[in-house]
């Protein structure tokens, strides 16, 4: 880098750190200077980059989308997710182990097709179905599944309105299971149960900054992006979805 450039970059860095310019402008200006963003080393500092995002970018209507042609089914997403939630739910066990059952995102392999099984945040339609809640939420007898409003919720979550399960209230798979039953019957199969107490688990999108997306080694295979339609249109039972994908990708009916 030339002296002029270096000076300008450090100026921009300071402004960015102060919050005077947005991340987007910061990157744009760097690009205009012909400096690669990674060379500046700004975004390796996740604390800085992350905090800026949280405040500035609401993530309403964002969802996790996987690209079946790019996903290789390597399970990296599931490992990252499992590790994160184990530390929350079973901190003692998380110290020395990883168990994929804690993961809310599960790639499933159907031979030449990989389907990523994850909650799609389906919503019921009020005028037709009487409520606009999530279906699992609507059938939960104890109100354990709830939506945290945007801007509220856990520390470290960026404020996206997200779904969560109150583990105190959840009756567990041994006694209930209505949430997954309605999900599998009419939508996808987006809920799982943890292997310790058998309580329901649902993807929280990490409150707007999903670990799975960050862990994915294939560019574009797993994306966190806004969608315009109700998540129910993406929800599918794994096996049926796999057959659909097979048909679409290989232009052939497998007939299984």
């Amino acid at each position: 880098m030339t002296d002029f450039k270096q000076e300008r970059v450090s100026e921009l860095k300071q402004e960015y750190a102060k919050g005077a310019i947005s991340r987007r402008d910061f990157i744009r200006m760097l690009t205009a200077l012909g400096v690669s963003v990674s060379a500046v080393g700004m975004f390796s500092d996740s604390a800085l980059a992350g905090e800026q995002d949280k405040a500035s970018e609401p993530r309403e209507n964002y969802t996790i989308v996987f690209d079946p042609t790019k996903c290789t089914g390597c399970l990296s997403c599931a490992v990252a997710c499992a590790d994160k939630f184990m530390q929350e739910i079973a901190p003692e066990q998380a110290k020395d182990s990883i168990n994929l059952e804690f993961s809310r995102i599960r790639p499933m392999r159907f031979q030449f097709v990989d389907f990523v099984n994850i909650c799609q945040y389906c919503e019921l339609i009020k005028w037709a179905e009487g409520t606009s809640q999530h279906p699992c939420q609507a059938v939960c007898p104890t109100g354990a599944i709830r939506t945290v409003e945007q801007g509220e919720g856990k520390e470290g979550y960026t404020g996206m309105g997200y779904m969560t399960v109150d583990r105190e209230k959840c009756l567990g798979i041994q006694n209930c299971g209505r949430c997954l039953e309605v999900c599998e019957e009419q939508f996808g199969s987006g809920i799982s149960f943890d292997p310790i107490e058998g309580k329901a688990q649902v993807c929280t999108r990490c409150g707007g900054d999903p670990e799975c997306v960050k862990a994915c080694p294939e560019e574009g295979a797993l994306k966190f992006m806004p969608t315009l339609v109700n998540g129910r249109y993406y929800a599918n039972q794994p096996e049926e979805a796999a057959e659909l994908l097979y048909k679409k990708m290989y232009n052939k009916n497998r007939g299984l």
Binding site: C71, F112, L124, M249, Y250
Partner: protein, 684 residues
């Protein structure tokens, strides 16, 4: 039981005869000595007394072991190893990728051992600690693909399955009216993995294999025949337990570094092993063409038919990886062909071995009436048609559950015998097989799979087939065309140019004639770098005992191997030397096993002898290519067998006359207790 890290400390033993399941808990010392996979599998074969020549591979006393290792699970590049006695009467150590290895570890097992024979077809359903032997009558006869999908449906963890609890009253009134609950309960998740055999395994074709995920196979040495002989259609496993690490933080650090390195690999991430084919023919001169009559096409364009870039544009649909792997070397493929029976076949790429053995080796790449020494007269459409033949054949082998290396060599043999008019169509039940004819290949394969007519003989592999025709015709010349090393097919890496593989490597590997032994570079040096070669072999055997993918070995590196092992197991003082010793143990045990089970008195005459290897390597110089005129060891057989081989044995600490590990060596390796008795017998 003491807390175990990396390992679970348990191996399941299933007797299909008495329908009983028990658990073995090997002491930590055994784990440290053998790790898992190859080495530990061999250890148990010795413990079981299977080196005894009287115990038959396809008899109930044989033991089929499906082993994983300390790093199999969360770590990248997980695999599984099958270790048993091969129908060819030597060791069968064969590895395979896929998600099954991790699943088995998560179920809480370091391996499963299957003995005895079920009185009717069965499959194993493993859900964590619960192992059930279930009836598989309705799956018997199914192809590998269908059988796997059907079996996986049957195995769900308790967390994924439940009766109905939902009723109308749980829903809003309008919703319930619109779509009332069907009361079917829960059970849509599909997280189990399965290994199955195809019809070839059921009919005990010697080179049948166990297949998982449609296109991944424990390919070599006949694991599927052993399963078939036990009436075992498949093994399905679903694990919900996760894996424990001694030092999780370090484990995550080291493995993420490995993953990062992998994600930068241009070679693997572009076309997988399909990326080497053009180089094999045009640069290295090691491509099997028409049963190894050629190893390089005169026209460099010919090979492009089966090259990564061409097949990618033609047919690759996506890519698939094993757990945690960023190399994703498997590319599912959609075949397009003018021939209706091949069109829309879905298979994998083919990978390099298939491109060689059921590509070049059976004459698929040339156009009609073309010789591999001719210029390529065709265009892209011909290339596409020819690629389709290879892809179609790959799918047949996978779905029937057979090894396409041995199978490709067998087809090559039959075609060359027909080319030279040494056999007639009448000898093959009227099937007129010729170079590049995919329909006759299909007909022959059907015969082999069903074990009918000539298929009964062909099902015993290339060498036995050559012997059959040689004695039937009273013509010793036929044996010359059997391209086998130690009675098992030479894989798709030529020896004559000495740029791809050195002939000595095929002679020394203890999994007969394997192409994944390691140390190839050192073998090809002049003079041969014995130390490097032996280290390479030990290191590969160690990787196969840690049970992760050897393709990823370069990304882990020696450092990585030891670091991951330490982090996983907590053996703080584990060293690189100790790891190589695991490989050495695998080598010594496999060597002793192979000699003893075949009752070999003088290995130099009966086993490591020129007559066990193709004379073509030495007698027939390459007709084309950059190494035209070359032969293995410049045609000097005695240089290989009387000079290089004894030197190799000596460097290994094995006797120079027979290649038997010395008493001292066995003691040093700490395996005298299981191996010394047999070694002493062989030494005398």
């Amino acid at each position: 039981m003491k807390e175990r890290y990396g390992f679970t400390g348990k191996i399941a033993r299933i007797d299909l005869g008495s329908k009983s399941v028990s658990t073995i808990q090997p002491p930590e010392e055994v784990y440290r000595k053998f790790l898992g996979g190859w080495a530990m599998g061999m250890y148990f074969l010795f413990k079981e007394g299977l080196a005894d020549p009287k115990k038959e591979a396809l008899g109930p006393e044989n033991m089929l072991q499906l082993m994983v290792g300390p790093v199999t699970g969360i770590a990248p590049n997980a695999r599984t190893a099958i270790v048993t006695k091969s129908p060819y009467n030597f060791n069968c150590v064969t590895l395979c990728g896929g998600q099954g290895g991790s699943n088995l570890k998560f179920a809480g097992w370091d391996g499963i051992q299957i003995v005895g024979k079920a009185d009717r077809p069965v499959y194993l359903a493993i859900i964590d600690d619960e192992i059930e032997i279930r009836d598989a009558e309705q799956y018997w006869g199914m192809g590998a693909e269908d059988a796997e999908m059907a079996l996986r449906k049957q195995v769900l963890a308790p967390l994924e399955i439940s009766g109905s609890t939902l009723s109308k009253s749980d829903m809003t009134r309008r919703w319930a009216k619109l779509r009332p609950p069907r009361e079917q309960g829960i059970g849509a998740k599909r997280l189990s993995s399965a290994w199955v055999i195809g019809p070839a395994g059921e009919n005990r074709v010697w080179f049948a294999n166990m297949v998982t995920e449609g296109a991944r196979a424990h390919g070599r040495y006949g694991s599927g025949a052993v399963a078939g002989s036990k009436n075992l259609k498949g093994i399905v496993v679903r694990g919900t337990k996760g894996q424990k690490f001694a030092d999780k933080k370090k484990f995550m650090q080291v493995t993420s570094k490995i993953k990062k390195k992998e994600s930068k690999s241009h070679f693997w991430r572009s076309y997988g092993t399909a990326g080497i084919s053009a180089k094999e023919s045009n640069v290295l001169g090691g491509y099997p063409i028409r049963n190894w009559q050629w190893e390089s096409w005169a026209d460099p364009k010919t090979v492009k038919t089966l090259s990564g870039p061409f097949m990618d544009r033609l047919s690759f649909v996506r890519k698939q990886s094993c757990p945690g792997c960023a190399l994703h070397c498997l590319y599912p493929t959609e075949v397009t062909s003018k021939k209706e029976f091949m069109d829309k076949t879905i298979t994998d790429m083919p990978d390099w071995e298939a491109m060689g053995m059921v590509g070049g080796n059976v004459g698929y790449l040339e156009t009609k009436d073309m010789d591999p020494g001719d210029p390529y007269p065709g265009d892209y459409k011909d290339m596409a048609e020819n690629a389709a033949k290879s892809q179609y054949t790959t799918r047949m082998f996978d779905n029937k559950g057979m090894d396409f290396i041995e199978g490709g060599a067998l087809l090559g043999l039959l075609m060359e015998l027909r080319q030279r008019d040494l056999i007639g169509a009448g000898d093959l039940d009227g099937i007129d097989i010729s170079w590049g004819d995919v329909q006759s290949v299909e007909a022959i394969m059907e015969k082999i799979t069903q074990g009918k007519g000539i298929g009964k003989i062909l099902g015993k592999g290339t060498y036995e087939t050559a012997r059959h025709f040689s004695s039937k015709k009273g013509n010793q010349e036929i044996m010359y065309y059997s391209m086998t090393g130690k009675r098992y097919a030479q894989p798709a890496h030529g020896t004559r140019s000495n740029r791809d593989r050195n002939a000595l490597e095929y002679v020394t590997v203890v999994r007969p004639c394997e192409h994944t032994g390691g140390g190839s570079g050192s073998f090809m040096k002049d003079p041969i770098d014995f130390e490097g070669a032996i280290n390479g072999q030990n290191s590969t055997a160690a990787i196969n005992s840690m049970v992760y993918c050897m393709f990823a070995g370069g990304f882990w590196g020696d450092e990585g191997n030891v670091e991951v092992l330490k982090a996983v197991t907590g053996w703080e003082d584990f060293s690189k030397q100790e790891l190589l010793q695991v490989g050495e143990r695998a080598y010594a045990l496999s060597r002793l096993f192979n000699l003893h089970t075949q009752n070999i008195k003088d290995p130099k005459k009966e086993w490591d002898s020129p007559k066990m290897f193709p004379a073509r390597w030495f007698e027939e110089p390459l007709p084309t290519g950059p190494f035209k005129g070359r032969a293995a060891f410049d045609g000097d057989i005695s240089k290989l067998f009387d000079q290089a081989l004894p030197t190799y044995w000596k460097k290994r600490g094995w006797s120079e006359d027979k290649g038997i590990p010395s008493r001292k060596k066995l003691k040093e390796l700490g395996i005298s207790d299981i191996a010394e008795e047999i070694a002493a017998k062989l030494r005398s």
